[in-house]
Symmetry: C2
Subunit: 338 residues, 2 copies
């Protein structure tokens, strides 16, 4: 059974009951020309949107509807996390080719709703329509944050330490497994695959860092070198990263050893990790690290520091300083395959 | 020259300078993980989103980038209009196949910015990515309206008069010209074509009607019979429309006479007119009509009235009452061609 059997409005009736997760502030959910809601009082409204297109961002043959639904929402949640915000209302646009089964679409919604429940996010509206060839998923997501806690890209200053909430490069290794149809025959390879298909949005980490006084943040979607270059362009600073301090997982080390790659390359240029890259004043770092460990039971990693050179630089394993080019994923200029 | 020559970030730098139309309330525009803005104080936030897909909603061979950009924003503005709201911040996601020229994309943005300026709407963010085959445009648009003026679908009561701000069926006739490659060799045919490719969002009309006390509203996107059926389902009422009172333009009459169609059919089932269908208490109708004429120099049309039958009915030219089936455009169940 497909969408043409029940129609757009039949589909909307089918998915709507599970979309309202949190009632506070909601005035009109799905079912009118627009949703209507009260923005969080005294706070800034945040809004982000991400478009995922079949064959460009995902491959339905390898990704279940449930995982795809989660990822589509996760990448938006990650943008709200990078502002230090709380996520609130999601709006889901789907363009659906005829060959997609209702079962796959139900599964896609279950994935979104699963993650929405975890972060108290409502799905308050959207648009459902046909598409000739590719499945299309666009999500617009609102959030809120107070003006004195918002994390922006333009507030890092020279001397600030550059940190990451998690490991880098795992997602790119997972993408490699998918693109090359390499079987996930060990727990390590499966973990890399999961890092690509089910990234965890760092909303709690972002809220903590915003409240604790981190100076700037961005999420790692295009790759460390690219995303860091946005941060330094916005802040008008330079940055120096130490190769020896890159957070590289044991799984990525093992993958690179097996398939002949350089893990530093993956950590620098691999995209879609959705960790938070953030900066802290050096004299605040210990306090933040202690609080972070207490809150999350894990440590964040310090990768380097902001400089006043205007340049992005890498300190190599042999202690030489080389320019670092933004080399993350660019959907137009290079292929996803490594 | 195409997108791959300048990349996603080159494109964003290119279009950004013209995107900030109105500075008040804007905290972060394009250039961070999310936009940040102050919602209108004491008002509800509205949010709507529409997805347009090449080959389903538009045909680039016949629509210029400028017109397509305007229409993509117009259909969202129309949803805010139907809530009685003021439009505020737009977020544009584009999925772009390689064959599209930068000139076409520039033109698309110029079209959006043209309409955005007219209605003081900012483009505060979005997402730009690749697409394998079809051009994809998703816009999410915020608005605001006070709680005591918001126009919802569920507040019509039996006895309310059903009205339309403009003519119905013109857009569907324009679509027919496009689908059948019929030359627009008269000013009448050209007007029908324009009604399809450049619908006017009724934002000022919606604001007026909300403030003046209309009871409910919906915009005509799927077609009168479909959209009215949503209104009566939400309100828990019936409705009776008079065929003799349908607002049919002289251009549509002339088109139907020439090509052998029934103009009543077009007015009942043709979609994408983006007029507002609204209801008023009968004892308020004269006051509203006078105020409307004074404000806009034109009249709205009364098509029939809400009933307590729960049914959607049509009074035919011969004064018999027949059931009216929702017969508007359904992207999954029927083809766009008439």
């Amino acid at each position: 059974m497909g969408l043409k059997d029940i129609g757009e409005f039949g589909f909307i009736s089918r998915i709507s009951p599970q979309c309202l997760i949190r009632r506070d502030g909601v005035y009109k959910a799905i079912g009118d020309d627009s949703a209507a809601f009260w923005a969080a009082q005294g706070e800034l409204t945040l809004l982000t949107t991400d478009l995922l297109v079949e064959g460009v961002h995902f491959y339905p043959g390898v990704t279940s509807g449930f995982n795809l639904g989660q990822k589509a929402l996760a990448v938006n949640l990650s943008d709200i996390a990078a502002m230090g915000g709380t996520a609130r209302e999601a709006f889901v646009s789907l363009g659906i080719p005829e060959r997609y089964s209702l079962a796959y679409l139900d599964d896609l919604y279950r994935g979104m709703q699963h993650l929405a429940r975890e972060f108290s996010v409502n799905i308050l509206g959207g648009d459902t329509t046909g598409s000739r060839q590719d499945l299309i998923i666009n999500i617009a997501l609102t959030g809120s944050v107070s003006e004195n806690e918002i994390l922006c890209r333009d507030r890092a200053i020279p001397g600030d330490l550059i940190c990451s909430t998690g490991c880098l490069g795992d997602s790119r290794a997972g993408l490699h497994l998918i693109l090359k149809s390499i079987p996930r025959d060990t727990p390590e390879l499966d973990k890399l695959f999961q890092a690509h298909v089910l990234p965890r949005p760092c909303l709690r980490e972002g809220r903590f860092l915003a409240a604790a006084g981190a100076t700037a943040a961005i999420d790692v979607s295009d790759g460390l070198s690219s995303d860091l270059s946005h941060l330094l362009a916005s802040s008008g600073t330079g940055a120096r990263i130490k190769a020896g301090q890159l957070p590289i997982s044991a799984e990525l080390e093992s993958f690179c050893a097996r398939f002949g790659f350089d893990p530093v390359e993956f950590a620098l240029a691999g995209g879609e990790d959705y960790t938070l890259l953030f900066t802290v004043r050096p004299d605040e770092a210990d306090r933040l690290a202690d609080g972070y460990q207490e809150e999350f039971g894990s440590v964040f990693r310090i990768l380097g520091e902001m400089t006043d050179t205007g340049r992005l630089e890498l300190v190599t394993a042999s202690e030489s300083i080389v320019p670092l080019e933004p080399g993350g994923w660019n959907h137009f200029q290079q292929d996803g395959a490594s």
